[in-house]
């Protein structure tokens, strides 16, 4: 067979080995991710991720522009969850400059952030089913509900995906009249949808056999590999930044952090479902408790913003994991150094470890269960 005409790996390939490059154009690499895979039969014996096909120089551009101008670019990091990206950046800047955030703004951030988590986790269910080769029904149901959340976003912020909502010391605008009631009414229908999804998917024997026992990761490896978010918790680590850092108003809200025991793809899949249910609880409380008041700290000058010199690392629990921003300021209108700690990229650290010895079809499922977005992996 002349298939191993090109070798990505140094050294000569074995006679029976087949080397394929999955991606950057591949239906289930979630964008332009690429993996060089060496297989024996269909079993993966070596896997090397290749990044950079969506490296759009977010950090360099942010260092050229003003502090505020980086905000809309953060939308385009993890383009499914722009709400939390804005928030993380705002949190880092607020740490850097020591800014207080008004109460109502914190609530609005939590509402938008948790809705973002909800739609991300729902979309995840669809995407991973797509990776398993289902013909899109789950994805379509997920997008059906996602559209309704996007409608709420559009009414609140003006855009479906690129919210550009957070500001230093608050959020950009208050809710339009009746928005909170609309959100409450819509979210009341959400548990029924999650039930339907659960009935649709979780008992399915093919899905179980595709997910259970695949890509098992121990807690210790997961911590050392820097994994975060649902992937870390699926391995049984009790670590949620919302609880640990207690940022924003999370200490006031009652919610539980689920964690798995096995650490395989099925646990990662189930954690998304469980977390979505917890997010609903948070949203309910936040929508009920939200106080009146200003939505942005009036003392903060957004245009021509100049934080004091120094540096700060701010992080939040994004839907994909720990989203952090490391900012270095030299006291001017532009960031001296602007670095994103992308959960999607770092969650891929152990991809090879998880994939070795599995079948090629499992690679897609494992990758899907990590839930990456290329905008964030490559920035």
């Amino acid at each position: 067979m002349s298939a191993s005409s090109s070798n990505f790996f140094s050294g000569t390939a074995d006679a029976g080995a087949l080397e394929v490059s999955l991606g950057p154009h591949h239906p289930s690499t979630h964008g332009v991710f690429r993996m060089n895979v060496r297989m024996e039969g269909e079993t993966v014996v070596k896997l090397q991720p290749v990044f950079g096909y969506l490296h759009r120089n977010h950090e360099k551009i942010a260092e050229k522009n003003s502090w505020l101008a980086a905000m809309p670019y953060t939308d385009r990091l993890d383009y499914i969850c722009s709400g939390t990206n804005n928030w993380a950046y705002a949190v880092a800047v607020e740490k850097l400059a020591g800014i207080e955030v008004p109460e109502r703004a914190e609530y609005l951030r939590v509402i938008v952030g948790e809705m973002t988590r909800l739609q991300n986790h729902t979309a995840f269910l669809g995407f991973i089913l797509g990776d398993m080769g289902a013909w899109g029904s789950a994805l379509m149901y997920a997008f059906r509900e996602r559209e309704k959340i996007l409608d709420l976003f559009e009414e609140l912020t003006g855009a479906r995906m690129m919210l550009n909502y957070a500001r230093f010391g608050g959020v950009r605008c208050d809710t339009p009249a009746g928005w909170l009631d609309k959100a409450r009414a819509y979210l009341a229908t959400y548990p029924a949808f999650l039930d339907e999804m659960e009935q649709f998917l979780t008992g399915n024997e093919i899905l179980l056999s595709r997910l259970q026992g695949v890509g098992v990761l121990s807690a210790q490896r997961a911590i050392n590999g820097g994994l975060s978010g649902p992937v870390l918790r699926a391995s049984g680590v009790d670590y949620d930044i919302r609880k640990v850092d207690g940022y924003s108003i999370y200490p006031r809200l009652k919610f539980r952090v689920p964690r798995g025991e096995v650490g395989d793809c099925f646990d990662r899949f189930m954690l998304r479902l469980l977390e979505a249910r917890e997010s609903l609880k948070i949203l309910q409380q936040a929508l009920d408790q939200i106080p009146e008041g200003p939505v942005v700290n009036p003392a903060v000058k957004q245009r021509g913003f100049k934080p004091p010199a120094g540096e700060a690392y701010g992080r939040i629990e994004g839907p994909k994991g720990e989203l952090g921003f490391h900012l270095v300021s030299n006291g001017t209108e532009k960031p001296y150094r602007y670095h994103v700690r992308p959960p999607s990229l770092i969650n891929l650290t152990l991809l090879e470890e998880m994939c070795l010895g599995t079948k090629i079809a499992d690679v897609m499922v494992i990758l899907g269960s990590i839930d990456i977005v290329l905008g964030e992996v490559d920035r």
Partner: protein, 212 residues
């Protein structure tokens, strides 16, 4: 019930429910949510934004233009897609009006930062989205005539925000007027005082003052 195969049957039941549901769900409520686009248009939310435009008051775009070519938006625009040239009068003196105002919508990211930074309530977000074309270059650079849209249009697409803007402008105008009045009054008072003083001086003047 948990016999082998029951999960698949449950899943099949869900899809069957959706297939059947989509035929009995004409109200676009739960199952069938398709909006048939070219015929059915989405009802855009008031906040919905796409590209910026320039508001002018009254009927004449040139006369009513609010923009004073201060170039703040040009500076603040994150992807730098705005280009402004100040107009000049006959003598070549710059005046508070843009001669050129270009927005490259092939670059614009619709972030609304120009709107936030505009101190003159001039640049606002539009909600048009049907702008596709066969050519990249000329048609996607919007010039001033294409960008200028009336305040009535603004009121049409986002009534609440436009009303608030108008109220703010009106308040500013009133404030300005009041200030002007106060200033005028002050000036008048000063004049009067000066006149009185002058008159007093004149009256008191009996001998010519020394030039300095």
């Amino acid at each position: 019930m948990n016999f082998p195969g029951s999960g698949i049957i449950k899943g099949m039941a869900v899809t069957a429910l959706n297939i059947v549901g989509s035929y009995f769900d004409r109200a676009h409520a739960k199952r069938l949510i398709t909006e048939q686009y070219p015929e059915e248009r989405p009802k855009l939310a008031e906040a919905s934004r796409s590209f910026p435009f320039l508001v002018f008051d009254g009927d004449d775009p040139e006369k009513g233009i609010r923009c004073v070519a201060c170039k703040i938006c040009e500076k603040e625009c994150p992807p730098q897609c705005i280009y402004i040239v100040k107009d000049t009068d006959a003598n070549g003196k710059p005046i508070m009006r843009p001669k050129v105002f270009d927005i490259d919508i092939s670059v614009c990211m619709g972030c609304q930062i120009c709107v936030e930074s505009c101190p003159f309530e001039s640049i606002r977000m539009d909600n048009i989205y049907e702008v596709s074309g066969y050519d990249r270059f000329a048609p996607l650079v919007l010039h001033k005539p294409q960008l200028l849209k009336s305040n009535a249009y603004y009121h049409g697409i986002r009534p609440t925000e436009a009303a608030a803007t108008d109220a703010r402008i009106e308040a500013a105008r009133l404030r300005k007027e009041a200030a002007a009045k106060a200033a005028a009054a002050k000036v008048a008072a000063a004049k009067a005082a000066a006149a009185a003083k002058a008159a007093g001086e004149k009256a008191a003047e009996t001998k010519p003052t020394q030039p300095e």
